[in-house]
Symmetry: C2
Subunit: 508 residues, 2 copies
């Protein structure tokens, strides 16, 4: 049937049209069904119904379809019933607890990337994988499908290594140290990272204090080949794009299915061409992985998935019960990392964790047999890591004259004093993050928290426990109110245990 068009000038990130209920019935359809919208080109869209908003014979077309078909005002389009994407039946199959095949995962992931599934349909898929889980075959197929439906980087130089931290620990600025140490040792490390979703600062938020992070896949390749390393925002690339769509529907429900974490991390590492990867698995209350047992299982699964994908993986379980270092929030964390790069001055927990992770990569990359940590410490102490970090900043388009002194933090601040004397005891990561977010992190780069007293330290009454920084007075007040809800206290963190790659896979 031919329809007049009305443009709904709104981006909804789905292919969707609106039709009068009588037209929808006439075509034997229901709301939620698909139609083919056709002029010279065609696209499949989901139908919404209206009783009153549009007369019969007029179809309301949202921006995505409008632009895709390059519709002109006054033009007519043909609307025809269309079959549901094959993925719907496959989602139903997963919902019923059945294992999906390799081809079936490709079908679903391609439909995700092409925008053929509604948020509700994608939520049904993610919910089903959350409840039923996936076995390692399925995780492998999901990973491969995510890699193959996006851009891939192939390096001319080798070896290429990478690092990933499982989430939940505030203040985890270790990538700012690991990347330059590893690059300074002559390995390639094309690190893509995320922005904070529920946290106070993701690695991409940190790096953005220093340089642009929205880089294309080819920019990531060029910069990495030139200076050895990069710290980019994964969301700006077209690397494993299905992952971004999945994360979007996970967010409102605060779910993060185990199988999707494995597939997501490994898909990104595989797509950037990594040959050896170290995975940091913080465990503790408030982190994604709660117990050491869960951490060991995840480590084993990462290692096996790595083998299947041809990537050598080592995992370290780290203490995640408290923040890494003494700062939370973009600029404050960058400042702390720069102090370490400039003079090795800084929290023991941060230096320990960073050099441990970097050391493992140096060993895996074959540039420090059995003495990776010492080599990493030496690169840090010698200033070569600082020099490399400045090269990376400059290559990404930032100012390489930056130093811990020049990094701007929020000029609104307040000291949070201890109401009593004694020893600082634990408080959970979530509280710290909530206060930092209330102060404006991660959007306000200068907002965050400096921790003065950590777990076990003696505190006098009236001594400062934490200092809250903000860029705006009203956000500082929000943060103070947030802190007043429950008194803050403090903890410490470092590597608990190292899980080596079981097999003797060598880097190609």
């Amino acid at each position: 049937m031919k329809f007049k068009v009305k443009n709904f000038d709104i981006e909804i990130e789905e292919y969707k049209v609106v039709m009068n209920v009588l037209d929808v019935n006439e075509m034997g359809l229901m709301a939620g069904d698909r139609v083919k919208v056709k002029n010279k080109e065609s696209v499949t869209a989901v139908v919404e119904m209206t009783d009153t908003m549009l007369p019969q014979g007029v179809v309301g077309i949202y921006d995505e379809v409008w632009k895709k078909l390059r519709i002109k005002k006054g033009e007519e389009v043909e609307i025809l019933p269309a079959a549901q994407p094959e993925s719907i039946a496959l989602i139903k199959k997963k919902m019923d607890g059945n294992k999906l095949s390799k081809d079936e995962f490709y079908t679903i992931v391609q439909d995700i990337v092409d925008g053929n599934l509604t948020d509700a349909e994608l939520t049904a898929f993610v919910t089903s994988t959350y409840i039923h889980g996936m076995d390692l075959d399925e995780i492998e197929w999901m990973t491969r499908a995510m890699v193959d439906t996006g851009e891939r980087i192939e390096f001319d130089k080798h070896p290429v290594v990478d690092k990933h931290s499982i989430g939940g620990v505030p203040g985890n600025k270790v990538s700012l140290l690991v990347v330059p140490i590893v690059a300074a040792a002559g390995l390639l490390i094309p690190k893509t990272s995320s922005r904070a979703i529920t946290g106070a600062a993701g690695t991409a938020d940190l790096m953005e204090v220093l340089a642009p992070v929205s880089l294309s896949a080819s920019e990531i390749k060029d910069i990495t080949e030139k200076v050895g390393g990069v710290i980019a925002w994964g969301g700006a690339t077209n690397i494993a794009p299905a992952d971004d769509e999945i994360i979007e529907v996970e967010y409102p429900l605060s779910i993060d299915p185990y199988c999707q974490v494995l597939a997501s991390v490994m898909a990104k590492k595989c797509a950037v061409g990594a040959e050896a990867v170290v995975i940091d698995i913080p465990t503790g209350s408030g982190t994604t992985v709660r117990t050491v047992e869960d951490g060991r299982k995840m480590a084993r699964d990462f290692i096996e998935l790595g083998e299947r994908m041809g990537i050598s993986v080592e995992c370290v379980m780290t203490y995640g019960g408290g923040p890494i270092g003494r700062t939370i929030g973009p600029a404050l964390e960058v400042q702390e990392a720069f102090c370490v790069l400039e003079s090795m001055k800084g929290p023991h927990s941060l230096i320990e964790k960073s050099t441990s992770l970097a050391g493992i990569l140096l060993e895996m990359g074959g540039v420090a047999q059995g003495a990776g940590k010492a080599a990493a410490e030496e690169i840090l102490r010698s200033g070569r890591a600082l020099q490399k970090m400045k090269e990376i900043i400059e290559a990404q388009g930032g100012d390489s004259n930056v130093s811990s002194k020049t990094i701007q933090v929020g000029d609104k601040k307040t000291d949070w004093l201890s109401p009593t004397g004694g020893y600082a005891t634990e408080f959970d990561n979530k509280r710290l993050i909530e206060i930092a977010r209330a102060a404006g992190a991660p959007a306000d780069k200068g907002a965050g928290i400096v921790i003065h007293k950590k777990k076990g330290e003696a505190v006098k009454k009236g001594e400062t426990l934490i200092t809250i920084y903000a860029e705006k007075s009203w956000k500082l007040e929000n943060a103070i109110r947030e802190a007043q809800r429950k008194e803050p206290v403090i903890v410490e963190g470092m590597v608990l245990e190292r899980v080596p790659d079981i097999t003797e896979t060598r880097i190609r």
Copy 2:
């Protein structure tokens, strides 16, 4: 923060606003979070983000929020971060396989009715109940919450009885006979029914051939008290409104969780004040309930749920392997039912099933001790059911001078001939429904199928197997193409087994 408003003149059936990504970040929010939108009144809405469509400081407001707050052009509104509805955490709890409490079901159902959940969030809930199921406590609480969040009918006269058929069987026009028989016997039967979702004609679609079916709860009460019965469209009332929202998200995924079927049916029966209910459970391939064992389990659960709700329930398992009677599609089915009402002429399967179901209600309602079926047959044979049906039609605003002769069926038709001689053998319900829908049913009332040869009947080569009716030539052609995809063949249907109420619950 204060924002200028821009009206997005579109009904999306959700409270939603669109904001520039920088404003969303500034507020420490992400897409999918909630905000409070405030002028003199306030409403909680979900945030969508845009990079380009709106500048900073302007909020795009869809129709639902716009109307709720009675916003005027040029007005400013305040936007504040708002907490997620409590239901989200409860959905997560169900997703994790935990049992929800009575209060928790009320919270979720109230949020569903109030439009506080997105389609994706509601899909996550429905998917979780599909996978994990609910125990009978949970089903009872869900049912009660659905009843209590909508309108209820309280009758002054008693007893009030009702009937429901579980779906999947084409041609199931028995309500058109059961309702007038039962009403003619002096019982009240306020039947609300559905339109076809995936079928060729729901009971509401059938009744609409005869009279308006969009009745309010008070109209249903008045008509039932006046003439004894009504056949209304449940979707037009505010009875158990959560059910309509749930069905909307189930449709695109073609899921119909067992626990939701129980809650949905009993909520509607309870809300109309039914004291005794007969449930028809057709079993067979292509129906909702596949096996007799599954049917027995469903019967037991319906009976127990009824006890908990104070409703006396009997279930009958019926043959669902083929269509009821010889017609499929609104006008054709009504015509067939009228032939039976007028002269007891018609398919044995239809008369048997209708008088069996009606008979059980007569017994449960205390007007035909132990001889319900015979009493129902007598009411039908005597013409009292026909007279009552005409009263019901008139009371609903239809023309009571209707007869099987005056009902208009589609004037486009084609005979589908047997390509060979032999005996008619089975073919699945789904194929018949697909052909009838291709011909235009249920939207085109005159479209459908007449079945000439049923299972086991001898057929000569070239004899007519079915006749396809349509109102429009192009739809008749669609139906022929649909029939050509696979040859049609034929089956028969009647009551297989009766499952009595185990307890001796008497009607109050």
